[in-house]
């Protein structure tokens, strides 16, 4: 990669700037999701017992870390080009490195959280299985998926300032429709509704795939694997295409 060093520098800068001057500093990258998880556990694990899942906290956590990575990546990327407006107006460098560095920062956090969650889940549930070897493939597809969509929302938001607010509004219902604290099978008998929950929401197969490997100790179905790979590739192709088509005027609009 020609811009590896630039990319590395931007990631460092992103990591440093966000919580600079606060007492816990970088720890917030881990603390925030943990607090979120605690709140959701309280809500869906203790107050409303929505799903008859064994080891519900672990079931919930595995889905949540995937969702947090996805949603935080998109939200962070959406405003990233405007945040770095000074740089874009005055210097020439590949613009995609800015949203991509945001996604990478969240990917690092995600890796830490997932490692913790997976280690505990596998230890508690005894789900160590050769299927674990498929996890890197699913995670690579998830990264490509998040990166592709992040490129799209980042460049769109630079031109149309409605994108970030719409996105952050959409993420809440999207969260509730994602199989994070339930499985589609456990909440509906209708085939159509189940199909929609499982396949029309592109995040659902990623959650299902990671959860199948880590929580159930079984390889995801071939359909899920094919879906996540296709979604990852498609998102990346789309993201590159849209970003390249629209990046020309960035120095003028940000």
């Amino acid at each position: 990669m020609a811009h590896r060093f630039l990319f590395e520098q931007l990631v460092r800068r992103e990591l440093r700037q966000k919580y600079q001057g606060s007492v816990l500093g970088l720890a917030y990258y881990i603390v925030n999701p943990l607090v979120l998880m605690g709140a959701y556990y309280l809500m869906f694990g203790v107050v409303f017992k929505v799903a008859p899942q064994e080891d519900f906290p672990l079931f919930l956590m595995v889905g949540l870390v995937v969702w947090i990575f996805f949603s935080q990546s998109l939200l962070g990327a959406a405003s990233s080009l405007l945040d770095q407006g000074g740089l874009i107006r005055k210097a020439r460098f590949p613009r995609w490195t800015i949203p991509a560095s945001v996604v990478c920062v969240h990917a690092v956090t995600f890796a830490v959280l997932l490692t913790l969650t997976a280690a505990v889940t596998i230890a508690v549930r005894g789900t160590l299985d050769p299927a674990l070897l498929l996890l890197p493939l699913v995670l690579a597809a998830l990264f490509a998926f998040a990166l592709g969509l992040a490129l799209v929302v980042a460049v769109l938001h630079a031109y149309f300032r409605d994108v970030a607010p719409i996105l952050s509004a959409a993420l809440l219902p999207w969260f509730f429709l994602s199989p994070i604290f339930f499985t589609p099978r456990s909440i509906t008998d209708q085939a159509a509704a189940r199909f929609a929950l499982e396949w029309l929401n592109p995040v659902a197969p990623f959650i299902e795939g990671v959860r199948s490997i880590v929580y159930s100790g079984a390889a995801p179905s071939p359909a899920v694997l094919a879906y996540v790979i296709a979604a990852g590739v498609l998102a990346l192709v789309l993201g590159r295409f849209v970003f390249e088509r629209m990046q020309g005027e960035l120095a003028v609009v940000v």
Partner: protein, 255 residues
């Protein structure tokens, strides 16, 4: 168009900017079918109108003109930061643009870390920057402040670091926008000497400034822009004379 290293070409270059108050187009505007069309608000400002300019490798060109004449737009177009609406713009070889000293500095990064970041933005890799590190440190005269976050720097220190980095990049084309007017006199002289060294090394210089004396010292050729057009393109003395008449300032007095 194939350009030799150090060669610069603008071919019937035109660029307009929309000047609506809300720069970001909204989805509402798009849905109502007037996204970006600037149907409301003032008409777009034409920053460059059919500008044609050829600069040979090693030339030193100053660009002068009143505010809004298109000087900075010319540089940003040449630097490849903004695209043209029509025409062609290009520079041959390695281009180093200094449109703002310290653009992109991370305020919480130390001077040394910012050298790495800034070098990376200019397309250098780590070994290339580290090879220049000592020279940059010495040039910047920052001493022990180099390991302190730049948010604690005075504005003079800030620009010294910014210039020190740019001064140590190998350039075929140097694009400089009014950034030398900062720093104390001694440092300005040092910057000028450094630019002169790069020109002696064969670099092409395009310098935008309101400082006629600086332009006269540094540039052999001067282009006067007026309202997005080339009003005069001549040897420095002649073009600066034209510029002073245009601006209504007596000759020999720097504007």
């Amino acid at each position: 168009m194939k350009l030799a290293p150090g060669e610069i070409a603008l071919q019937e270059a035109s660029r307009a900017f929309s000047v609506r108050a809300d720069r970001g187009r909204t989805l509402k505007g798009l849905l109502l079918g007037r996204g970006g069309s600037a149907a409301d608000g003032p008409a777009p400002v034409q920053a460059l109108r059919n500008v044609t300019l050829r600069v040979s490798p090693g030339e030193t060109v100053g660009i002068v003109g009143r505010n809004g004449a298109g000087k900075s737009s010319t540089l940003r177009v040449l630097a490849g930061i903004i695209p043209l609406n029509s025409g062609f713009a290009g520079c041959g070889g390695q281009v180093v643009s200094l449109l703002e000293l310290g653009a992109g500095f991370g305020r919480d990064f130390t001077g040394r870390e910012n050298i790495l970041l800034n070098g990376a933005l200019h397309g250098l890799d780590k070994p290339a920057i580290e090879a220049r590190m000592d020279a940059i440190l010495e040039f910047s005269e920052l001493g022990r402040f180099i390991d302190v976050p730049v948010r604690t720097y005075s504005s003079g220190m800030f620009v010294r670091l910014g210039f020190a980095i740019a001064a140590h990049l190998e350039a075929d084309v140097l694009l400089i926008d009014e950034v030398l007017a900062v720093g104390d006199e001694a440092f300005q002289r040092k910057c000028e000497a450094q630019i002169a060294r790069q020109i002696d090394g064969g670099a092409t210089l395009v310098l935008v400034s309101h400082d006629a004396a600086l332009i006269e010292r540094t540039c052999a050729r001067v282009v006067v822009l007026d309202d997005g057009r080339v009003a005069c393109d001549a040897p420095a003395a002649e073009a600066l004379g034209f510029y002073h008449r245009l601006m209504g300032t007596p000759e020999g007095v720097s504007a």
